[in-house]
Homo-oligomer: 499 residues x 2
Amino acid sequence: MSRLEEEVAKRALAYVLNPPSAPNDVVRYASPDQLVAAFQTATALGLENDVAAADNQALMAAVDLVVKHSIHTSHPRFLNQNFAGPDPISVVGDWLGAALNTTGATYEAAPVFTLMESATLSKLGRLAGYLEPAADQLPTLPPGLFCPGGSTATLYALQLARHRRQPDIVTTGASADRLTLFVSDAGHYAATKSAALLGLGTNAVVKVASDNNGAIEPAALREAVARSAQAGKVPFAVIATAGTTVTSAFDDINAVADICQEHGLWLHVDGCYGGSALFSPKHRHLLAGVERSDSFVWNLHKMMGMTQQCTALLVKDPTQLAACFAGQADYLFQPDKLYADYDSGDRTFQCARRIDVLKLWLSWKYHGDQGNASRVDHAVEMADYTRGCIAASGGEFAAIVPGDFTNVVFAWVPSELRPWPAEGVPGLEPATHTRLHALPPKIKARMQAEGTAMVGFQPVHGLNSFRLLYMNPAVTTADIDAVLDRIAEYGRASDQSSR
Amino acid sequence: MSRLEEEVAKRALAYVLNPPSAPNDVVRYASPDQLVAAFQTATALGLENDVAAADNQALMAAVDLVVKHSIHTSHPRFLNQNFAGPDPISVVGDWLGAALNTTGATYEAAPVFTLMESATLSKLGRLAGYLEPAADQLPTLPPGLFCPGGSTATLYALQLARHRRQPDIVTTGASADRLTLFVSDAGHYAATKSAALLGLGTNAVVKVASDNNGAIEPAALREAVARSAQAGKVPFAVIATAGTTVTSAFDDINAVADICQEHGLWLHVDGCYGGSALFSPKHRHLLAGVERSDSFVWNLHKMMGMTQQCTALLVKDPTQLAACFAGQADYLFQPDKLYADYDSGDRTFQCARRIDVLKLWLSWKYHGDQGNASRVDHAVEMADYTRGCIAASGGEFAAIVPGDFTNVVFAWVPSELRPWPAEGVPGLEPATHTRLHALPPKIKARMQAEGTAMVGFQPVHGLNSFRLLYMNPAVTTADIDAVLDRIAEYGRASDQSSR
């Protein structure tokens, strides 16, 4: 056998070039006990008190088990999560970055990648309208940062918002003001998690009502801000969501921006999921007004298929990044080092930082703007096709929200419970509700057991509902037909067996 | 040409199997302008307003430029940073994780990796004395988390510390108490950056004096805590450093733990760099007392050569993780999903999380405990050899700190300025100080220009001093001789030309 690293690399490349694609290949789901037993035939999953070096054969057997029992997120019937269909160019770009293993904090440690970060952040900033089209393509101070995920970017954005209100927060700590921030009740939980970590407390997060689709009600926001101020609290920021997690709804950013402008509030746009609509001339209208925001987070590892993780936090005023985050470690950031004005490390919270940009730059150069647009357009087309299937199903499937982007949220309805009430979920009899609510977990578990698909479900308007969401360009209408067929088939079986 | 992803992968694999190793191959340093010009021959570094898809030939030319102009951190004469010598097994483990591209947040999305996290965190916890040797090798609730870097882990640890004092901080926000935390003046700047982000403010960080080597003075800590309390502030946490950034000094953890115990303070051990000494029976005594701490951060991507990033935050009481960080998103964490008790996502701040564990697990199984110990022991041997060279240099090199671990901090001394004053740096004449202070940046710049080495420098006791630090198992004594020769040679030339 050749060197282990070569064997593992070959196996990984074979996987990227020919990922599992048979209809029941989405997953070989195993319980923890089953996995423990399987690895005993290779090398134990656990690490003993005295770990002996395993031989290459045992390790390759373990690698095979890793592949066999992992979720195949590139499979077109993996519709479970807000990432899917990793772009093979991104995967190998990630690999090259890992091989060169350095940190993005300084120009001296990452000369090429520092410029690539400048290039991509500048281009993303131009797409978001933060920079003029004529802006420098490789600015020394680009309009943002790469972050390890959307929650972290939200955390940074809210700190920037506090910092604008109270620039001495960095040294003296938060004032006694009871700050409040606003996000719709369909927004991401990063808002509350960030509020806890920042010391604001989750009570500082005011959840604003959203409409039936999951978009914020601007009137409710306006009222909530006023009420909070009347109660002696200090509104400081609003998060508008561009693509909610469950229904991929877009808040009306212009309407939110008007309210922020009136009250001097920081506007952060959570485009973790839906930011990628900006790639598409057809769908970018969904983010109209984003150029009026102060910060904007965009996860390229979601719709665009970059590997975990590739998050850009864009900011309107990048001069405040260093003021808010600098640590000024003299062993690392030195004005007497060459080209130190490019160093990003003192503009962010992290110190050493994985190279997340190479895969994005390479993928962008490979696909071009048009390729990026196609990925987004295809995703919405697949969702539209699914919505069409549901509408034409004669009541077998019921839409739980109308939906207009990549996410489709619906229920499967046993034949004797049709037609679906005109009022939707609130119109269901309690017994019917209970019966329908119990089905998605069972249907999903059978899909996992048989490997035929992975789909998400969660309560929407109080009822466990399926969520199919699209972004993998490999998805075809045949895949959608098959997944809907499986839901119906397993639904019938589960429903009958439980009666 | 075959598919681009195959070509890039082959290039990356060739790099891992045969990284640059010639004496002047450490770096092909280029200015931003030079890089921009070089990429024009392939495909522009910038992203235009209308990015056209580039052809594979142009993209492979760009890939070649990326490799050519990146820093070769696997080269034995890359001694610049507290990471070096990426373990090839780790690199390909990282690749396989990227190919399988999933998130570590839930068992359903990462069944194998969830168990691997449990296995490695449990083993690390046993090494740190947090768990009994007989503890479950695959606990449902392992004693910690994987985090995107040491600064983030420090941030989480300090939030856990606040949360223990004030469990309602999550909902109501931080109380008006003026909390203070303590770290030595040689400790990492993650303490101040975290204090700013948590809303404590950097003024809440009390920098405690360290000794000549860089280890905290316990008496000064005791006094600082008392003084802070007398001033009406509320001491809540101490960070003990196991392996400081500049001199790799170890605080006396037992002495710090005694003080924490007396005053009821949270003890966080920053073992980002030096935690790996626990792998070595010979050197683990440096962390004596770590089992008494409340939290402990350990960057496996530093000494152990895991690719960026691989950070374990270990905690004594993992039951508090969910209480402190949970977001309870019902679309993601559902008790009715299979094996949800293993889900890590609601025990940490992040939502989607890159798979950082596979590379560590695979590398550990490949090298075994003994291989891990050897890597650490070799690093200290190389540092000891360097210290010996300095001692035997007849005054050409002067040690700035005594040192006893992997870092060697010293100055090069022009012949007519020898002998080095017995009082060390404070004994230097101002003109001599100025002359010596100016040399390291020039010597370093020439090394970068010629590609012969990369070494760090920073002010220590006020004088710009070189820092060589070891962890790459490929380093030999011949490399060290060569690097010291280059420093002396370039030193003589720089010193003469500036006189």
